[in-house]
């Protein structure tokens, strides 16, 4: 057991994977000499030489290069500094990389990993603060995972590198500096498509991912201490494919579903979770499923407004408490405050 910041856990996972497998290579903007803008590859070039490369600011070229290198014997791990930068290279990931296996009847495989930093909270403005998970979730052949702490960051990255198909790792950048335990023995057991139950409860199932896992846990704690609500919390660290069995089993037990996510409600992955739960647990639901997410707006810059963008513990607690008490939905803050519907 060791306590690492999430960026250290990522660098550690990369180093361990490179030490284990000589075909693992890294490239991206400023990841080699500078160790990465978020220090997620610090020291790796010194240790692994030309297996760690800086690229020009050319996301399309180096994302496609990862596809081609993966088809010819390497396991590239590339870094998209901010998820928005994938916009210019999306073709290479979803239209080329994710389809090469299909278009060759598995004669070609694309064991590449694309890491990207995501999320609000840093004051970087609306072009550097989104999650954009909807660009990649649901693409056949592509897996998408999102760690919530150092432990899952290590385990998911190792699982992604070991995966024979392309995997996107969405790293909440607000968590890079947060320290947490990494238990190497259990971290290596983490698999894409799984989830983990972080708290047992009987009255409501709260499903969250990434930075919102911490919000969900803090909310569950408050709900227990002030009001005696028993909430179960599931960390859905794999967004596609996602652990339907675990969520359905939990909701069958609690009868209530709450999904907390950082994305805009109009685009969020929670839509898929709610759909499946309604399809499979319709008669067991005591209340309508509740989605706590961001409004359908760009991420605002000012600290005060940005702080209202992603769900907060206060917002989650208020709405879950209302759900438990009334078995009905309380509208989001922007509707309650009559700003917009």
């Amino acid at each position: 057991m060791s306590k690492l910041r999430m960026n250290q856990a990522i660098a550690s996972a990369l180093a361990d994977a490179m030490a284990d497998d000589p075909t693992v290579v890294l490239f991206g903007e400023d990841i080699a000499a500078a160790g990465g803008p978020f220090k997620t590859s610090e020291g790796l070039q010194a240790r692994f030489g030309s297996r760690v490369r800086d690229t020009p600011i050319s996301e399309m070229a180096f994302t496609g290069a990862a596809v081609g290198a993966a088809m010819h014997g390497l396991k590239p791990v590339i870094e998209i500094m901010f998820m928005e930068f994938l916009g210019v290279a999306l073709d290479q990931l979803v239209t080329e990389g994710a389809l090469m296996r299909y278009l060759s009847r598995s004669a070609y495989q694309v064991p590449m990993v694309l890491r990207a930093s995501v999320g609000s909270g840093t004051g970087f403005g609306c072009q550097h603060s989104g999650t954009q998970q909807n660009w990649v979730v649901g693409v056949p052949g592509l897996s998408v995972v999102m760690p919530s702490d150092s432990h899952t960051a290590y385990g998911l990255l190792r699982a992604a590198i070991a995966d024979p198909d392309p995997v996107v790792v969405l790293e909440p950048r607000m968590l890079y500096g947060v320290r947490g335990e990494v238990d190497l023995s259990t971290a290596r057991e983490i698999q894409i498509g799984q989830s983990r139950r972080l708290r047992e409860g009987t009255e409501v199932t709260i499903v969250a991912a990434g930075r919102m896992v911490g919000v969900a846990l803090a909310s569950a704690e408050q709900l227990a201490q002030h009001g005696g609500v028993s909430a179960e919390v599931i960390d859905l660290f794999s967004l596609h494919p996602w652990d339907e069995a675990a969520v359905l089993e939990s909701v069958a037990k609690t009868g209530r579903l709450v999904v907390v996510e950082e994305s805009s409600l109009g685009t969020g992955w929670s839509q898929a979770v709610v759909s499946r739960v309604v399809e499979e647990c319709f008669t067991q639901l005591k209340a309508p499923p509740l989605r706590v997410g961001a409004p359908d707006v760009p991420v605002p810059f000012t600290k005060e407004l940005e702080g209202r963008y992603a769900p907060t513990v206060d917002e989650v607690v208020l709405r879950v408490r209302h759900l438990i008490t009334h078995n009905a939905l309380l509208r989001p803050w922007w509707a309650r405050e009559e700003i917009t519907a």
């Binding site: 399309m60 496609g64 010819h72 004669a107």
Partner: protein, 324 residues
């Protein structure tokens, strides 16, 4: 001349003439099948561009990795795909190279060094850089080749890829099959320069422009270039001037062509040029006739076998999406 006594060089020329004929005949057949409503979807023919496909392939090994485009029948056949496998793919048969799941635009065979042909303009360029990076990293003697059309030089992927290949000194050959049209637009309406190879100057990359209609000249030029790329001299941009005898796709009759342009280029049909060159080099009329009838026969047999092959089964659409 008896086949056993044909000099090696002439034999190679005859082989390449045969390959060009197979491409032309196979595509004529594909066109006929589409026109007859026997094939689903669309198709893009490379009539007029056979010399580049065959001359290029003759300079490569099967381990070299080629990314080509949706106008890829010629490259696939030149790389060694059988007409049966290609026609089966176009007809949606399970014996096609992608089991009938890909279609005319998606032809692949790693054993032939053919990555799935790319139906997005320019998309194969970065992927070829990656293949070259893998060869370089693993110290393998192979090269990557990215074939694009003239239209592909106006997309960002082209410029990013050339830049990346140059700074990493990748063993990759970029080939512009300049057939004068990007979809429905004549190249000079979309591109402000005469020779597209000059774009390599921005990346300090060696380049040249050649006539893409004479198969032996293409082979000679590419062989020399490939030797340099294979031996550490870094990437190269080759432009070959060809001409697209057909429209962009099945539905395009190319009414936008200037009058007389097609006829001007048809006078330099690469098959006619190859035939003339063969006879001039001493091949007998009987040898040339024999090769022509072999090609005709092969494509006819391939049609029958492909039409008789089983259709892609229902379960195949669920397979190979990710590792089972």
């Amino acid at each position: 001349m008896n086949p056993q006594t044909i000099p090696i060089e002439l034999g190679g020329m005859l082989d390449r003439y045969r390959q060009m004929l197979i491409i032309r005949n196979t595509e004529d057949l594909i066109n006929e099948l589409f026109a007859g409503g026997l094939v689903h979807g669309t198709t893009h023919l490379c009539h007029g561009q056979e010399a580049l496909a065959v001359g290029l392939a003759a300079a490569l090994t099967p381990a070299d990795a080629v990314s080509a485009t949706y106008r890829g029948h010629g490259i696939a056949l030149a790389r060694g795909m059988s007409p049966h496998v290609l026609l089966s793919e176009v007809l949606g048969k399970s014996e096609g190279c992608v089991g009938g799941l890909g279609g005319s635009m998606h032809l692949a065979d790693p054993a032939l060094g053919l990555m799935p042909t790319f139906a997005i303009v320019g998309a194969g360029l970065p992927v070829a850089c990656g293949a070259a990076l893998a060869f370089q990293t693993q110290q393998l003697p192979h090269i990557a080749v990215a074939v694009i059309g003239d239209g592909g030089t106006n997309i960002g992927a082209f410029h990013e890829s050339l830049n990346l290949a140059a700074i990493w000194n990748l063993p990759v050959l970029f080939v512009i099959d300049h057939n004068m049209y990007g979809e429905y637009s004549r190249w000079d309406l979309t591109t402000p320069i005469e020779d597209l190879s000059s774009r390599a100057n921005s990346y300090a990359m060696p380049s040249s422009t050649i006539d893409g209609m004479e198969v032996e000249a293409v082979r000679a030029a590419v062989t020399e270039i490939v030797d340099g790329v294979r031996h550490g001299q870094g990437p190269y941009l080759l432009e070959a001037k060809t001409y697209r005898f057909s429209g962009h796709s099945r539905s395009d009759t190319a009414p936008y062509r200037p009058e007389g342009e097609l006829q001007h280029w048809q006078a330099r049909d690469p098959l006619t040029l190859a035939r003339t060159a063969l006879l001039a080099q001493g091949a007998s009329a009987a040898d040339v006739d024999r090769v022509e009838s072999e090609a005709t026969q092969l494509v006819r047999q391939s049609r029958a076998s492909a039409e008789g092959a089983p259709s892609a089964p229902l379960n195949s659409m669920f397979e190979h999406v990710r590792k089972a």
